[in-house]
Subunit: 404 residues, 2 copies
């Protein structure tokens, strides 16, 4: 039911970054559920991770290792290795150790990632048994299959890829993401990987991954449930061009633009493929006094089950929108200064139904698969935008049946 | 589909408090949708109201008038008179004026209440035309019908009634409530009225209504959507016993206990009749460092669509519970100190699956219609409890079809 999400685009290979896929049978036999990624020596790797206090074992290990030289990233689906305690940490270490031993690198040079059911023991043996196949499959032109290899309840793989030129060199920025439920990232989403062949100093790369996440993965929500495993990684293999030592200059600006654009496409792809989604909804809050109150209003609207079911029903029930604006907790909000638009149709003017508004206008917008809800608060000049989905019967069915 | 909610209990009349019901045809012809309540002269009236910034016109008028002597409360369903701007305020005034003129009291002695669709103009003429019938119907033994008269998407009327004795006198505390969706009260719920024949000074009554709301209506949530019209009123007609001038003494304590018990029953009845509810769920957070973090965890669990759909499916998917505990924003939460119980079954011990736990134990609890989710944070000795429901196909159907 993905909304406006087509086949994978052309995925430009990134020099110095190879991907290998295998079937370990973690949850289901025969499914591609293991993805190994190799970064060329000298790569820098940055990442942001969930702020969930129940963050998974692999997230805990990644946080410890980040900043050291990384050579491999190993990802399994079908099991989140979250809420698994000390045995979970040991299981993640065993997977990393198997990668390190097979490929002759140090344990600390391997980063683990997991996604799937929370609270089940990780089947380490199945994963290590499939490692040789993943290693044999390592290729730079393997992005599309890797996009499939990290899927769980996703209905389609998600990828984005851009190239830019600078002083005669061509640079690539390519990435994949996954996630369809338990999506309200609070640092990053449930697994996103973007690689570039540019050479970027580690602190610059870390600042860039944070900035890209804030503009993309940290601006989407499907069900308001922040995952235990959210990880967004940015890898720079250093194979092309001069070293970027500072967040400034023409090359940095082009790279920044490309990374943010790829991250944005990957984040929006997750929303488009949200569980049970029939609508892709942009919530834009304007004229706020500050960033936080804009986001508070946007998330109140995006998380309201009443608004989400009205979107599913294509019902322009704008009373539910103003109710959510009203309870978002904006101090001293004056309802008579609030305007609301559905796409270009003004439905609320000065806190009440716009005189020009007819139910037919609202209904026409709501029939569309992509809808913009624009809210003006009349308090300042701050704007924020987030993306979300509707709440459908299919969402309930998927999540009521997830483990059966 | 109400969970464990039976017929109205015996509703003890309250001396000095009469109720009259009529059909005004606000939204549907023939439906009882108008309730008039009369308080004896000398009554004190206290109330708490929604903190939604888009609070409805009647709520705005009630807030202005509270503290003055009140004689009548007039309630319509089928139209919330919210987000209606200045015309909405004028419409509410016109209804109050019609009551005042018909019954020979001042405009300021009438409090208006509305519930129903947001953003539609209030059909004043229909309401004033039905007023004579409501007036003719005013009786002290009319609580049960009044409970019906304030219903919207409720499937059953909700009432609670207690009597207590003090120094040879019998006191009654009787109340009704309504609400089934847009329920996450933030002061009080979408219409609750409790009356007593005790004589209570206005400041004491106002403190008591706040306390009762905090223990009851402010501890329930169905969909996390705070209504524009929430109002919880406490009326003391002063017909029985000595005046209570202070929040102390044996009589006050008995009254306080009865009011809080009635409010609690009314609040829980709203959850039991929650839209599409198939489960009545108590979320109890223990060992918190303070009230706020207990409530943050409890509401994170109660609002999680993933947990609510798992409850609907009777799936003991405890990973979703710990994920919600983890993202509730408790600073420095240590996952290895967290325990989770479903009723008496320990499912999570020290942050991971309890060794003693079997899926069969969890499944057996989840099959029940009333479920206790008990979470221990291992941080202190603060406990908080809230009540909520599951998220079913029926919830989506009701709210996708609400206006059709």
């Amino acid at each position: 039911m993905a909304v406006g999400l087509g086949a994978m685009p052309v995925m430009h290979p990134v020099k110095g970054f190879a991907l290998g896929i295998a079937s370990a049978g973690v949850k289901k036999a025969g499914r591609r559920d293991l993805v190994l990624m190799r970064c060329a020596e000298g790569s820098t790797v940055a990442g942001v991770f969930t702020q969930n206090a129940f963050c998974a074992a692999p997230v805990q290990l990644c946080k410890q290792r980040l900043g050291q030289p990384v050579r491999y990233l190993v990802t399994n689906t079908g099991n989140a290795n979250a809420a698994t305690g000390q045995p979970g940490l040991e299981a993640a270490q065993q997977v990393c150790q198997a990668v390190a031993d097979s490929l002759g690198v140090a344990l600390e040079q391997v980063l683990p990632f997991s996604t799937g059911v929370i609270g089940e023991p990780l089947p380490v043996g199945k994963i290590t048994a499939a490692l040789p196949a993943a290693i044999a499959d390592l290729r730079e032109d393997n992005w599309a299959l890797a996009g499939e290899g990290i899927m769980t309840t996703d209905t389609l793989p998600k990828g984005a890829s851009l190239q830019f030129e600078h002083e005669g060199e061509t640079y690539s920025v390519t990435g994949i993401s996954k996630g369809a439920g338990m999506i309200r990232p609070n640092m990053a989403t449930m697994l996103g990987y973007v690689a570039t062949d540019a050479k970027v100093a580690a602190p610059v790369l870390q600042a860039l991954v944070k900035q890209a996440a804030d503009l993309s993965f940290n601006r989407i929500t499907i069900d308001g449930d922040t995952s235990t495993n959210d990880s967004f990684m940015l890898i720079a293999t250093g194979q092309t061009g001069p070293a970027i030592e500072q967040a400034a200059g023409g090359l940095y600006q082009k790279l920044q633009e490309a990374v943010c654009a790829v991250a944005m496409q990957l984040a929006q792809a997750i929303v488009r493929d949200g569980e049970g989604a029939t609508k892709f909804v942009t919530v834009q809050v304007e004229q706020g006094g500050n960033v936080q109150e804009c986001l508070d209003v946007a998330y109140a609207v995006a998380h309201s089950p009443l608004i989400k079911t009205a979107l599913f029903a294509s019902d322009p029930n704008w009373g539910r929108i103003v109710a959510a604006v009203g309870y978002a907790g904006v101090p001293g909000l004056e309802q008579e200064k609030v305007n609301v638009f559905l796409n270009d149709v003004c439905i609320v003017r000065d806190g009440g139904r716009a005189v020009s508004y007819t139910e037919e206008q609202g209904a026409a917008v709501m029939q569309q698969a992509e809808i913009l809800i624009r809210i003006q608060l009349g308090r300042g000049d701050c704007n924020e935008t987030i993306w979300t989905t509707d709440l459908s019967h299919e969402y309930v069915r998927i999540n009521a049946e997830y483990r059966t």
